[in-house]
Symmetry: C3
Subunit: 467 residues, 3 copies
C-alpha cells in the first residue's frame, strides 16, 4: 500500500476503534480479579443467608450500580417457593475420644447445605448415612445440599472418614432455618438504546472458586469496564442470583421485559481456570449470542470445546426454557462437571482458578460485548463500486500493490447490502470483526456506508424453535 499513504494514516486513526484497552493484562487486571475472589472466598454462601449478602456488598463496593433485592421466604415464583433462610453459627462432630472434626469453622463445605439444627449423640452406624465423602478424591471435602427436604449431613474427606472408630459421636449443628429472605443483586448500566445485553451469574456456593467465585468476579469487572466506557450502545443488565431458584425468581419478576428487550445474553460460570475455552449454545443454537460466541472463540481460541445444549447445567436451563427462550450462550473456561475438582474443596484459588484464567474469560467476554456494540448493518451509498482512488483509498496506478486493507474495503462494500449485519459479513470474509471495525468507521466517515436500522432480535424471539 506504499502508493496511498493517506489510507495508512486514516487507518492509524481508526485502529483503536474496537474499544479494548491494551494496557489491561493477566498480571494486572487478572491479579486484581484473583485478589477479589480471595476476599470473597471465606464467606459462607448458600441458597439464602448472610454469606450471600456479604458477598453482594463487597461486589457493590467494586460496582456501585449493584443493588440488593430481598425476597421473603414463602414467596411463590412459577413452580417454586422461596424456602426459609438458613443461618449457621457453628457445626462439628465429636468422636468417641472427644476430638472435634468436620468443623464448619475450618471449612464451610463440612456442613451439608440447609442442615437443620441438631445436638445429639449417636453411634457411628447411625451417623454414617449422614456423612458424605468422595472415595475417588480421598482428600476432597464434597459439596452437598438438601434445600427442599429437611435433612442434615456432614461432608469430609474420605481419608478422614476411613479413620473413624466405632463409638458414640456427638453431632452439633447450631443453625436456624427460619422465615427470612432470599437475596439477589442487579446492576443496570444504561446505554443509548433500551435494547439490553444480559449478563447472569450466580452466588450460592460456599468456598469454591471456578464453580462460583469466577462468575461474579469476572461479571463485576466487566461491569466496571462497561461503566468506564465513554458511551454504550446497549443497556447492560447484570444479574447475581442463587443458581436455579434465583434465576427462576428473577425471570418470574422480569420475563416480559427481558423477552422484549434482551438482544443477547451470556451466563458466566466456570470462567476462572486456565485449561480450556468452552462454548455451550442456547436451545436454538443460532441466536445473536451464539453467533457472537462462536465468532469470538473461533478467532481467539480456535481449539475451543463445543458442547450441546443437552449438556447444559447452569442457569441457561431457565433462561433458555420453552416460553422464555432468551438468546443466551455460554463462553466458559472448563465447563462445570468436566474438571476433577468440581463441587469439592479442591476447586480453589490455588489449584484451579488463576489470574490468567480469569483474565482470559474477561477478555473473551469483552470481545463479545464489543462485537455486539459494533454489530450494525450497513448499506453502500453508491451503486456499483465507488471511486476509491478519488478518496485516497486505492492505489492510483494499477501497478500499486493492493494491500489487505484495500481488499477488506472492497469486500465490505460488496457485502454491505442493508440486510447483512457486520458479524455475518466478518464470518463470510473469515475475518475477526475487530479487524474490520476501523475500516467500517473510515468508510462511514467517507460517506460510503450508511447504517440501516434493523430490529434484528425481535424476529429471533418470535421465531419458533425447530431442533
Amino acid at each position: 500500500m506504499s502508493n496511498h499513504p493517506e489510507l495508512v494514516d486514516q487507518l492509524q486513526r481508526w485502529s483503536c476503534a474496537f474499544g479494548l484497552d491494551p494496557t489491561e493484562t493477566a498480571a494486572g487486571t487478572g491479579t486484581t480479579m484473583h485478589d477479589l475472589a480471595r476476599e470473597l472466598w471465606p464467606l459462607h454462601r448458600s441458597l439464602t443467608g448472610h454469606g450471600v449478602r456479604q458477598t453482594l456488598r463487597i461486589l457493590q463496593r467494586e460496582l456501585p450500580p449493584l443493588t440488593l433485592h430481598e425476597v421473603p421466604s414463602g414467596t411463590r415464583c412459577f413452580d417454586w417457593t422461596v424456602p426459609p433462610e438458613w443461618t449457621v453459627r457453628d457445626a462439628w462432630l465429636e468422636d468417641p475420644t472427644g476430638r472435634r472434626l468436620a468443623r464448619f469453622q475450618d471449612h464451610n463445605l463440612h456442613l451439608m447445605g440447609y442442615s437443620r439444627p441438631l445436638d445429639q449423640v449417636m453411634d457411628l452406624e447411625e451417623l454414617r448415612p449422614h456423612l458424605h465423602t468422595r472415595p475417588d478424591l480421598p482428600d476432597a471435602i464434597p459439596f452437598t445440599t438438601s434445600y427442599y427436604k429437611e435433612n442434615w449431613g456432614f461432608c469430609l474427606s474420605h481419608r478422614e472418614y476411613e479413620q473413624l472408630r466405632p463409638g458414640p459421636y456427638r453431632v452439633f449443628i447450631d443453625a436456624t432455618l427460619a422465615p427470612g429472605h432470599l437475596t439477589y443483586g442487579e446492576a443496570i448500566i444504561p446505554g443509548d438504546s433500551r435494547e439490553e445485553i444480559l449478563l447472569s451469574t450466580y452466588v450460592c456456593h460456599p468456598s469454591m472458586a471456578n464453580n462460583e467465585l469466577s462468575g461474579p468476579v469476572v461479571t463485576t469487572f466487566l461491569g466496571r469496564w462497561l461503566l468506564g466506557r465513554p458511551r454504550r450502545r446497549f443497556t447492560y443488565r447484570l444479574v447475581y442470583a442463587p443458581e436455579t431458584l434465583g434465576a427462576i425468581l428473577y425471570l418470574s419478576r422480569h420475563l416480559d421485559h427481558l423477552r422484549r428487550r434482551v438482544r443477547a445474553a451470556f451466563n458466566l460460570t466456570c470462567v476462572g481456570d486456565d485449561r480450556a475455552y468452552s462454548y455451550l449454545p442456547s436451545r436454538r443454537g443460532d441466536t445473536l449470542a451464539d453467533r457472537t460466541a462462536l465468532h469470538v472463540l473461533g478467532h481467539l481460541a480456535p481449539g475451543f470445546q463445543r458442547y450441546s445444549f443437552l449438556q447444559r447445567g447452569s442457569d441457561e436451563r431457565q433462561y433458555c426454557s420453552p416460553g422464555v427462550d432468551l438468546p443466551m450462550a455460554l463462553m466458559m473456561r472448563t465447563k462445570y462437571g468436566r474438571y476433577p475438582e468440581y463441587h469439592t474443596s479442591l476447586d480453589d484459588l490455588e489449584r484451579v482458578v488463576t489470574p490468567a484464567g480469569l483474565f482470559g474469560a474477561y477478555r473473551v467476554h469483552q470481545h463479545a460485548l464489543l462485537c455486539l456494540e459494533h454489530n450494525r448493518t450497513w448499506r453502500t451509498t453508491v451503486t456499483c463500486e465507488p471511486n476509491l482512488g478519488s478518496r485516497g483509498l486505492w492505489p492510483t496506478t494499477s501497478q500499486g500493490v493492493v494491500g489487505p486493507a484495500v481488499i477488506d474495503i472492497t469486500n465490505l462494500l460488496a457485502h454491505a447490502d442493508g440486510a447483512t449485519d457486520l458479524l455475518a459479513i466478518a464470518d463470510h470474509l473469515g475475518r475477526p470483526l475487530w479487524e474490520l471495525v476501523g475500516l467500517v468507521g473510515l468508510l462511514e466517515d467517507k460517506g460510503l456506508l450508511a447504517e440501516v436500522p434493523r430490529p434484528e432480535a425481535t424476529t429471533d424471539l418470535n421465531r419458533q424453535y425447530m431442533p
Copy 2:
C-alpha cells in the same frame, strides 16, 4: 437413582406404555405367518382372476374387516383400462417324443402371465421366441407377463431348455381372456381420529414368496394386531391390490380422500427374507413416514440399506407420483431386484422367506405404527424448570445420583415447546421414541406436559416439492 425410589416405581408402571407385546416371537408369530404364506403359495395369482380372489378370501378369514372389490374389465382409471379377466385351466408343451413339459400344473410360473389360449403344433424354431429362461440361474423358472399386448409364452429352466430336441412340439394353453373383473381388497380399522395411516401391499404374482406373499401376510398380521389393540389413535387403511394397475385403480377412486386424510403410508413388499433391512424414501424424502422409518430403522437396524427414490419400483411409483404425493416410505428386508432369486421360482418359502424374516419386518412396522400413535406434540405447563423434587422426580440431596431417566425428563421438558413433535425430540436426543413414551406419560400424569393439537401433515401435503 437410589435416592428417589418413587420415580423407579412410577417408571415401572409406565414401562409397557409403548404397546409392543413381548410374548410375540419369531418362533411363534413368525412361524404362524410363514404357515399362512405356505397356504397361499399354490394359488394362481395374476393381474386378475380367481387366484387373486382365493388369496383375498383366505386373508379375509384371518382379518375379517377385509372386503373384496370387483372392478369390471374395460373400466377406465386415469391413463389405463382394466383388461379382460384371465382364467387358466391347464397348459403344457409336448415334445417330439410325446413327453409333456413346462406343465402349468407343476408350477404356475411355467405359463407366461396373460397368455392367450392355443393348441397348435409347431417346430422348435417357431416355438423358441416364446420360451423364456434365465441362463444366469439355470435351475430357475423365470416370471414373465404380457398384460397389455396379446401374446403367449412359456417359462422354463435353462437346463431344461438346453435339452430340447428339434422336431414338432404341441403347444397347449387352455385359458380364457374374457370380460370379467379385477379384484382388490380393502380393510378399514377405525381409530379415534379420521386421520389415516395407509398400508399398501400387492396380490398379483403367482407362486413367489418374498416378492409377493411376504407383503400381504405381514400386512394382514399387522391388521390383526391393530384390531386387538384396545384403542387406536389413527384410522388404518389396508389396501391389497394387484401391483401398478391395482394401485392406480385404487387411487383413481380415492385420491381426494387419501390426500386429505393420510398422515403416513407404508408400502409392504419384500418383507420376508432374513438378509437385510432396507429403506426407500418418498419422493420428497422428508415426510412423516420417512422420519418414522428412519427413526425406527436407525435404532433397530442401524446398518440398514438406504435407497434413493430413483431406485423405486413398486406401488410407491403411483402413491408418490406428482399430484398424488402421499407420504409413503418403504421399510423392506432385501429390496426387489436386489436378491438373486427375485422374479423366479427360486423366490420361495424355503430358500428366501423365513419365519424370522417375516417377524423382523412385522416388528419394524409395529414400531413404526406405534411411533406414529405416540408422536404427539407437547408443551411444558410450567415456565422455567418445574420443581421435580417435590414430585418425586429428582433426588432430594444434591449428592444423589442423577440417573438417565432424570436427564431424559429434563430434556423432554426443555424441548416440549409446543412446536416440536416427540419424534423430532427423540431424534434430537438421540433416543428411541419407545424409551421416552413412559416418561412422557408420567410427566403428563404429573401435569407437567400438556398436549398441543397439531395438524402436521396438512402442511406436508400442501408444500411444494423441491428435489
Copy 3:
C-alpha cells in the same frame, strides 16, 4: 431395449434436439477465433481512444448487430466521471548514447496507460520512479495504467532495465488527453421472449491475449452462432465495454431494464488458454447462472477450479454489487491473476491463448446457453404413471430389458411436478441436461408432459441476500 424398436426410432429423431453443431471443432472454429484475435492484437486499446473503436468495428464486421456508443468525457455515471480521451501517436526513451528504447511502436505496453504528453531530458535517477518492470519475469513488459491521476510512465523488461546506464535520458511522449468519448459496443439478438440473457466482456487492454482478446472474440462467435439459430427463446444482450468504468457506465444507463429482464448473465474473461476450467459465482452463489455454470462444468470439466466471490476481479464486481445483483457467474479457463503471464506482454497468442483454448470456452458457453434455452418447467399430464407400453415407450413383456432411456422417461415423469425446472431435475438425476432434452421433446410430443410457465428469475432478484 430390443423389445421396443419404436422408442429407438423416436429417440433417433430427437437426438439433435439440444442444438450443438457437431461439425464445429477446435481446428475449425477455434482457429478462426484465433485468427480474429490475431487481427485485433496490434490495436492500441485503452480505457478510451481510437484503438477501442477500431476493435469494435472489426467485431461489428463479424457480428453486424453490434452497435457502437460514444459517451462524452465528463459524463457522470454513479460515482464516476468519464475521463478525457487519450490519443497516443508515439513514445520512447532515448538513452545517453542516443539509442531509443521502450518504443511504443514496438509494443504498446511500453507506455503506461493514460500517460500525459512529455518531451524532457532527465537523469536516470529522476526517470527511475517512472519505470515499471517485473523482476520476477525479467523478459516481460508489465501492463500499467494511471487513469484517474495525471502521471506518466514507461514499462520495460527487467532485463533491459538492468542495463540502463547513468546519464541524461530524453523522455518523449506524443499523446493527447483531451475531451472526447468513451466507446462501448452493444448487440441485441432478439428472441421469442423479452427475458434476456446477458453476456458481458471488456475491451480496454492493449496487446494482451487471454486477459483481453479471448473475451470479445468468444463473445462475438457466440453471437454469430446465436444469430444462426432458427429460433431463440431468450433475447441475448452482448455488451463490450472498457472494464470497470465501462460496466459502471452501462449499468448507470440500463440498471432498471437489466434488473427486470435479465434471467442469467455471464462475464467472459480469460476464456482463451488451454490449462484449466474455472468457475466464479455470483455474490449470491445460487442464481440461475450459477446453477447452469455448475451443471455444465460439472459434466464437461469435472475437475474445474472453484473460486469464491471473494476472489472476484472483473466486471462481476459491478454486475453483482448490492442493489444491482444481476445473476452473473463466470466460466473461465485460467482465472485472471492465476497464470504467470497475466498483465504482461507474455500473455500472448503463442504462449497462452490457443485455438483449442478458445474453442473449449466457446463450447462450454454454448452448453450453458442451450441449457438455459431448454430449461423449462413441466408437469405430467397424467395422474399416476401413464401407460407407456401403449405409446411404444415400454417393453410389452415384463421380461423385456428396461433400458436407460426408459428409466430416464419414468424419472422425468416422476419429477415433472410443475414446480421443478429441468435443470433441477437433471441435477437430481445426476444426468447432463443435454441427454434429457430429446426425451423431454418425445414426451411432450406424446402429450405426457405439458409446460408450466414460471417467472422464476423474478423471485431471485427480489430475494434478499444472506451470505
